[in-house]
């Protein structure tokens, strides 16, 4: 599987740990691991003293508020998309970035495909663990699907607060009128 990070193909040196519901994964020593929320909650004292990087992943039905006070312990937070049509992760991404102030890597995992990358990025994801079989070159083009957007995103004001400076309007009589107005 390919990893895109910061809009480039990247080497993935993290191990994603999964476990059946109600069970805890076994934690390998000294490598970078992304553990399920349940494992973090159960094995917290063990995990904070363990060597190797620590990340946590949330499923769509888990609450980002549950890790809000723990974010300093993580190098990476991942959100799992059980299916690409399950849009809960988009809200989780925005909450992590905008409400809980997460600035580290925010990784989309699971059913992550080319055609969702543009929206995911606008919701704060900067790393994408592409689904098996996705073509990286095609996927990298996704970030340019649209040249702009109306709404606010995690790193951009809504268009109506930026309009006066917009390149598409620059030089046109209209933008002049708008700036004057």
């Amino acid at each position: 599987m390919a990893l895109i990070k910061d809009r480039k193909l990247a080497h993935d040196n993290w191990q994603l740990l999964k476990a059946a519901k109600g069970e805890l994964p076994s934690i390998p020593a000294a490598c970078n691991v992304i553990v399920p929320l349940g494992a973090w909650q159960a094995l917290r004292s063990e995990l904070v003293v363990r060597g190797g990087g620590l990340g946590v992943w949330l499923s769509g039905d888990e609450e980002p508020a549950d890790i809000a006070a723990d974010l300093q312990h993580f190098e990476l937070v991942a959100v799992d998309f059980a299916s690409f049509t399950d849009g809960r992760g988009y809200s989780i991404g925005r909450l992590l970035r905008e409400r809980y102030g997460w600035r580290g890597e925010l990784r989309a995992i699971g059913d992550v495909q080319r055609d969702q990358l543009f929206y995911l990025a606008r919701c704060g994801f900067d790393a994408f663990d592409l689904r098996e079989g996705e073509d990286v070159e095609t996927a990298l083009a996704a970030f340019n699907d649209f040249r702009d957007a109306y709404q606010a995103s995690v790193d951009q004001l809504p268009l109506f607060r930026r309009r006066g400076l917009h390149p598409a309007l620059r030089g046109s009589a209209e933008s002049t009128a708008e700036r004057a107005g």
Binding site: G87, R88, S91, I92, C123, D145, D148, Y150, F160, R161
Partner: protein, 565 residues
């Protein structure tokens, strides 16, 4: 009419390119069917019973004549010459080829149109009162707010994969003509005591399998907070709406499960974090959008044009048409005109490419180049001089668009039904036609008076049968098409959901049942002023049930129902 600026245009051009690439990858086998489905749906493209169906957005039902001509051109070039105007003020083609859709979208983009989010589990086309901006009872013109919300909803990154579709309607008059009570979110624009604009916010209404009227979750939302509040509603729904069962995934189920008060508390708690954030609207932005709407340059006219009054007295058929199809206008000497798409024998809401071109011409000559689509599946010329009404009537007659039945029993709302739609359990169009044929005497139709008759071919309720005074729903019983009749539904401020009358009946018996209902109504009304819906409300459904089922002799319907039951 809202006129795009360069950025609006760039966004839809980018969308065309994006969908062209997605279609190319799908056709090349590089994008799987399941992965492509939500993408094509968010561009209005269904794969239907016989061919794809493309739903083109008509934001809040407003069309410029050049846009209507583009629809005519597309209908002629890529379809079989007939298009369909839907209850959500959109436009549907039933025979486009999948391969052609990118080209159709590219053509639409040249006239500032698109098919963005006309289907899929996302925020759909924003609908409005078709008399917006011209209604004498208007408090706030909702169109500017519709456009504000349209821009916010278009390509919203967080809400493209909701549990289910999401429909928003905005009304701004004393009388609700946008059906805000039966939308996922209904916004009633109003003014507070200081005259400031705000919105009464309703949530959780809807038709479908679980019809329910929306609950007020906020009495007055100042306009500045419109987008952040919608964001709070949508986020609450996106996170907590059910995803395990398609039939329980609409926001109405969440509102019901949490109770409206519980849902409101969740939304308000979310909103407390978003309020006064960057999405807070500014008056500069609202004025900018308002300024991009073209407005009719009304002339100063006499309150009642004498030529109009004379024609009313001279021609009885014209007077009948004017009484039904001409509507009051806030400007003296002007009127709005419904061009009926409900001629008997034509599927409700259908128009040919030639009719569309002709209506575009009428709009250019008589109504400042604009046409509106109503949720009752008709077309409206909104800004017509009274002195032109007689001429318009004559031209509309020649175009088969002058059926004088607005508000009457034959102005049937019907979905495309089993003839086209793969979701349908039963056909709608032939049922509508059979009823129209049964009530072909216009004088009798006028005697019956105001009556909404709505037909849906399945529980998805695209034909709004729940809010018809008489509602007809197609059901499937062991592979056979049957029809469930309900009465007592209504739209508007006093909206109500119809009650099922009794066991469902066969297609051929539907007109008989409707006739029986009318028969009893005429017998029991206290005067001509008492409408069908009033009588149902006064005497209840029971007498109607008895009259239909107790006296349904000579028909096979009853025996057949008993056999299936």
């Amino acid at each position: 009419m809202y006129i795009y600026d360069e950025i609006d245009q760039q966004l839809i051009d980018d969308r065309v390119a994006q969908f062209r690439d997605q279609t190319r990858r799908f056709l090349a086998g590089k994008l799987g069917e399941d992965d492509f489905r939500p993408l094509r749906l968010q561009n209005g493209l269904y794969i239907q019973r016989y061919a794809p169906m493309l739903r083109i957005a008509i934001p809040y039902g407003l069309l410029a004549s050049r846009q209507l001509r583009a629809l005519a051109h597309i209908t002629r070039t890529y379809d079989r010459g007939t298009g369909h105007f839907s209850t959500r003020q959109n436009f549907q083609l039933n025979w486009p080829r999948l391969e052609d859709v990118p080209e159709i979208l590219a053509h639409l983009a040249t006239v500032q149109m698109h098919a963005i989010q006309t289907s899929g589990n996302c925020v759909r086309n924003i609908t409005a009162d078709h008399f917006a901006g011209i209604a004498p009872d208007e408090i706030v013109d909702p169109l500017v707010w519709c456009e504000v919300v349209r821009q916010w909803a278009a390509f919203h990154p967080e809400f493209a994969y909701l549990p289910r579709k999401f429909k928003i309607a905005i009304a701004g008059a004393a009388e609700d003509r946008a059906a805000v009570l039966v939308h996922d979110v209904g916004l009633q624009a109003t003014r507070d005591e200081a005259g400031e604009i705000g919105f009464r916010v309703l949530a959780g209404g809807g038709l479908g399998r679980t019809p329910i009227l929306g609950a007020v979750i906020r009495e007055f939302l100042p306009w500045q907070h419109l987008l952040s509040y919608l964001e709070a509603i949508l986020r609450t729904y996106n996170r907590y709406g059910r995803r395990d069962n398609k039939w329980k995934a609409r926001i109405k189920i969440l509102v019901k499960d949490l109770t409206p008060a519980g849902f409101r508390d969740d939304v308000e708690a979310e909103w407390a974090n978003l309020k006064d954030g960057p999405s807070t609207l500014t008056s500069a932005e609202v004025e900018r959008i308002a300024g991009r709407f073209t407005r009719p340059a009304y002339e100063k006219l006499d309150p009642l044009a004498s030529s109009y009054v004379l024609a009313l007295g001279r021609d009885r058929r014209f007077a009948a048409w004017a009484r039904r199809n001409v509507h009051p206008h806030k400007m003296a000497g002007y009127a709005a005109v419904t061009l009926s798409l409900k001629r008997t024998g034509v599927p409700p809401g259908d128009a040919t490419a030639e009719q569309m071109d002709a209506v575009a011409d009428l709009a250019d000559r008589y109504s400042f180049g604009e046409v509106r689509v109503t949720h009752e599946q008709n077309l409206l010329l909104a800004d017509v001089r009274q002195s032109d009404l007689f001429a318009i009537w004559q031209e509309a007659q020649a175009l088969d668009l002058a059926t004088a039945n607005i508000g009457m029993i034959t102005n049937i709302i019907a979905c495309p039904g089993g003839d086209y739609c793969s979701l349908a359990n039963a056909k709608s169009i032939p049922v509508a036609e059979a009823i129209q044929r049964r009530f072909d005497d216009l004088d009798f139709v006028y005697d019956i008076g105001e009556l909404d008759l709505n037909i849906s071919g399945c529980m998805n309720s695209c034909g709004h049968h729940h809010i018809g005074h008489i509602g007809i729903l197609g059901v499937d019983k062991q592979g056979e098409e049957f029809y469930q009749i309900s009465i007592g539904g209504a739209q508007g401020n006093a909206a109500s959901l119809g009650k099922v009358l009794g066991p469902s009946v066969s297609q051929e018996d539907v007109p008989d049942v409707v006739e029986k209902l009318i028969e009893l109504y005429l017998k029991r009304r206290d005067s001509e002023a008492e409408r069908f819906i009033d009588v149902v409300r006064r005497i209840g459904t029971e007498p109607f049930r008895e009259h239909v089922y107790g006296a349904h002799q000579g028909s096979k319907a009853r025996a057949r129902q008993l056999a299936v039951a």
